[in-house]
């Protein structure tokens, strides 16, 4: 087949491979060089001539690049082009907008609390478009910070989406962040609650801001925190779950935000503990104060939605276990990269990989192993492309994927490379 064989047809290959060196007066050429060299001082050659001719990731028109369809990818790409001062400025601006909207959110939550229970109403698509790819932008439980001012740990939440604002409008990005934070707050909290404690495969990295931190993070801290912010792009399944849970969230979220559920001093003590730096409020709720009953209320309010939730977290399960949040390390890194971030990373290079098997009748599989740094450690290609020139091509293409650093040693993902 024409497309299956990457080599040229025989005649052309023979011509290419048999390119000869035309006859010249080589001795004269060499002597001319020697004459010039005699007057050439060492160190006279500019460094540009010794540099590599092309950048490693230099693209050309022949390398199809996947369009940036994920906001997370967009944000990351823009963030790489921003100076630190810009990022910190945007972070502060986003924080101020978020603080204002948080205050409005308290009023909204009061209204929700006082409203009678009704069947869930499908949320409008727009918030989900924003929620769909929060990536590092929206660590969900930021909402758990109640009315306390944002702390240093909240900085990632605010500084994360700043690059997005650079792409569009800084202010609107701040509003987007605040809105996404509020919308996701309750939903993501319940996602965390519904994670089976014994199933690390479903653990998701979640960061919780210290509710008692008194001041806004300084720009420097915001930058550092932004650098550590994990990508939390949810998968489509998580979207659905978030949508579902969001409808049952208000009562639970209110419980989480109730001041008596979390004394300020206790929260600080929790934050200083080396244990998982997630959801300290939930951990405090373990002694059956108010959080667990509130969850029951929330689930009971939406029986058709709550049923699957009960199967995941049986009522008989101890509250501390049932409410244990997604795993995160003491360093703040997620245990493993978020599914959405992995999908985005692989998706961004998949088109290049598919180009390697263009024309083939069947696809191949590749196992991409990410190191904890977020870089690809190895790529194993199986299927028809294995042991062919396409294998190295696929390895090279997929090897360019990158996710945020994570705590686990490695993380593997299987990729189907179809022509």
């Amino acid at each position: 087949m024409l497309e299956d064989d990457p080599t040229l047809f025989e005649q052309a290959e023979a011509l290419l491979g048999g390119a000869a060196v035309p006859e010249r007066d080589w001795e004269a050429l060499a002597q001319a060089v020697e004459e010039r060299v005699a007057t050439t001082p060492l160190g006279s050659t500019p460094a540009t001539l010794l540099a590599k001719p092309f950048e490693e990731d230099e693209t050309d028109e022949s390398a199809p690049e996947a369009p940036v369809t994920q906001l997370a990818e967009l944000a990351r790409s823009v963030a790489q082009q921003r100076s630190p001062s810009d990022v910190s400025g945007l972070a502060l601006e986003s924080l101020s907008v978020a603080a204002r909207l948080r205050a409005q959110g308290d009023t909204l939550l009061e209204r929700v609390r006082s409203a009678p229970l009704r069947p869930p109403v499908a949320p409008p698509p727009a918030p989900h478009a924003a929620v769909g790819d929060p990536s590092p932008a929206v660590p969900a439980p930021v909402r758990e910070t109640t009315a306390a001012p944002p702390s240093a740990e909240t900085a990632p939440a605010a500084s994360g989406p700043a690059p997005l604002a650079a792409r569009n409008n800084r202010r609107s990005a701040g509003l987007l962040l605040a809105a996404a934070t509020m919308v996701l707050g309750g939903a993501a909290l319940l996602i965390v609650l519904r994670q089976p404690a014994s199933s690390p495969e479903h653990e998701r990295p979640v960061e919780v801001a210290r509710p008692d931190a008194p001041t806004v993070a300084p720009p420097q801290a915001a930058q550092e925190a932004a650098a550590k912010a994990p990508a939390t792009t949810p998968s489509p399944a998580q979207h659905a779950e978030a949508t579902e849970l969001e409808q049952a969230a208000p009562a639970d979220a209110l419980a989480a935000r109730t001041p008596e559920a979390q004394p300020a001093g206790a929260a600080e003590a929790e934050a200083q503990r080396p244990a998982p730096a997630v959801a300290p409020r939930r951990a405090k709720a373990t002694p059956r104060t108010s959080a667990a009953p509130q969850q029951k209320v929330a689930l009971a309010a939406q029986p058709e939605k709550a049923a699957p939730s009960k199967t995941k977290a049986p009522p008989s399960e101890p509250a501390a276990t049932a409410l244990r949040p997604a795993a995160a390390t003491t360093s703040g890194l997620p245990q493993k990269p978020p599914t959405g971030a992995v999908q985005a990373a692989v998706g961004s290079v998949l088109a290049s990989a598919r180009a390697c098997v263009a024309g083939s009748k069947s696809g191949s599989n590749a196992t991409v192993v990410f190191a904890s740094s977020g870089n690809v450690k190895s790529v194993v290609v199986t299927g028809p492309a294995a042991n062919t020139p396409a294998e190295a091509c696929i390895r090279s293409a997929l090897g360019r994927a990158r996710v945020e650093p994570f705590a686990a040693t490695t993380f593997s993902v299987n990729v189907s490379v179809r022509p």
Binding site: M1, L2, D5, P6, T7, L8, F9, E10, Q11, A12, A14, L15, L16, G17, G18, A19, A20, V21, P22, R24, W26, E27, L29, A30, A32, V33, E34, R36, V37, A38, T40, L42, G43, S44, T45, A47, T48, L49, L50, A51, K52, P53, F54, E56, E58, D60, E61, S62, A63, S352, A355, C356, P389, A390, A392, C393, R395, S396, A397, G399
Partner: protein
């Protein structure tokens, strides 16, 4: 006396032995010229670049760190000089013609084995289509293909010349061949193999 290696010649040239660098020039100038010819498509320019390559290499001997082979290091200088020359050209100088010196280069080996004039004519047409197809490639793909397919460098050596990974070289060569094959097929070449 056994032949000195490239590294030994470089060390000797650094130490001030002018004949050592002359040996290095004579050892590699033909291949450098062929590389420049296929990148530049002009014999005179290729000769100039070849000469300039060795002069520049001598001027940078103090910066040769020995991490790569001298010839890949010299090749990199040649590629950079060729690309500089190409980028300094006017657009009108970019088209191929039947007088393209690369065609003669491609046909030299074939001529000795082909006796029939009709076959020789066909070879010339194919060679012209090949160089036109190579010209249709991007700068990156064309340079990589010339290094590997025409000059015969291994992917490892080509990766050192270009400063990229072997995988990247493999992908570029694969992509260049695929595009070149499509180009030739669109012009009626190689269809019988399809």
């Amino acid at each position: 006396m056994s032949q000195r290696t490239d590294r030994e010649l470089v060390e000797a040239a650094r130490a001030g032995e002018s004949e050592a660098f002359g040996l290095l020039v004579r050892r590699h100038q033909k291949r450098v010229y062929r590389l420049a010819l296929h990148l530049l498509r002009d014999a005179t320019e290729a000769e100039d670049v070849t000469q300039e390559t060795f002069v520049r290499a001598y001027g940078a001997l103090d910066r040769f760190d020995g991490r790569s082979e001298p010839f890949t290091w010299i090749y990199r200088i040649a590629v950079n000089l060729s690309l500089n020359a190409i980028r300094a050209r006017k657009p009108s100088q970019r088209s191929s013609s039947p007088d393209d010196p690369r065609i003669e280069s491609l046909l030299v080996e074939r001529r000795s084995s082909v006796g029939s004039p009709s076959v020789a004519t066909e070879d010339r047409q194919v060679a012209l289509a090949v160089v036109e197809g190579i010209d249709s490639l991007s700068e990156v793909l064309r340079t990589t293909l010339v290094l590997v397919a025409v000059d015969g460098l291994s992917h490892l050596d080509a990766s050192k010349v270009l400063g990229c990974s072997e995988g990247t070289v493999a992908w570029r060569v694969h992509e260049a061949r695929r595009k070149l094959r499509e180009y030739l097929a669109a012009r009626g070449y190689g269809e019988s193999d399809a």
